[in-house]
Amino acid sequence: MKIVRLTQEHDFKPFDCGEGDLNEFLLQDSKQYAKGLLAVTYVIEDEESTVAFFSLSNDRISLLESDKATWRRIRASFPHRKHRSDYPAVKIGRLGVNVNAQHKHIGTDILDFVKQTFITNNRTGCCFVTVDALQSAVPFYEQNGFKPLRKENEGETVPMYYDLTQLL
């Protein structure tokens, strides 16, 4: 098995993770994201197939600055803390594991790799890992220490985050 950084010349080996959106992203969109410098995709493959892939991009967690009432509440509750309205983050735009390789901890290993990389080799400053988790994948991310960003979520995905500072 090996990991390659996706290039425009990359020849995809067969991949099916059971989620149409993830399959489509890898096979149709990932090169366009790379070309537009929007996201970088890393592909794990063996001799015969694509085992897994993940895409990373820059992100941030922002608190609405015009929400004065909430800011008053935050400052009153945590007066000693230096408050920011933005926190830099790395976003896992997509993460998919081939159905043949699922339940072998490779997804968890990928998350661990992202966490470890950004606490030991953090070149631009980033303190959170973010992800828009499919509803079916929420338990997986929770097991890996991710928390939901919002109490109520509409739509197919749940925005979640992992605080990297806990690993320092």
């Binding site: 990991i3 609405l64 945590f78 901890h105 925005p159």
Partner: protein
């Protein structure tokens, strides 16, 4: 049926590309407000350090992926 179309896409990626077939875009994380913003700060405030066992587990998982790299990350 879907699996067949994936196979076709692998062989002829450009010929089968349609806007309607494209995956949902990667979107920035939504801006937090109200209770969600407050809870986010509260969670940061009470965030505890990971245990040494958890740190070691993360490092071990990461080193497995690191061993597969064909480039410098």
């Amino acid at each position: 049926m879907y699996f067949c179309s994936v196979k076709r896409m692998i062989r002829h990626p450009r010929k089968t590309l349609k806007i309607s077939d494209m995956a949902k875009p990667i979107e920035p994380t939504p801006v937090l407000k109200g209770d969600d913003a407050y809870e986010f700060v509260a969670e940061m405030e009470k965030q505890q350090k990971a245990s040494e066992e958890e740190k070691a587990r993360v490092a071990k998982g990461a080193s497995f992926i690191q061993s597969l790299l064909t480039f410098t990350f």
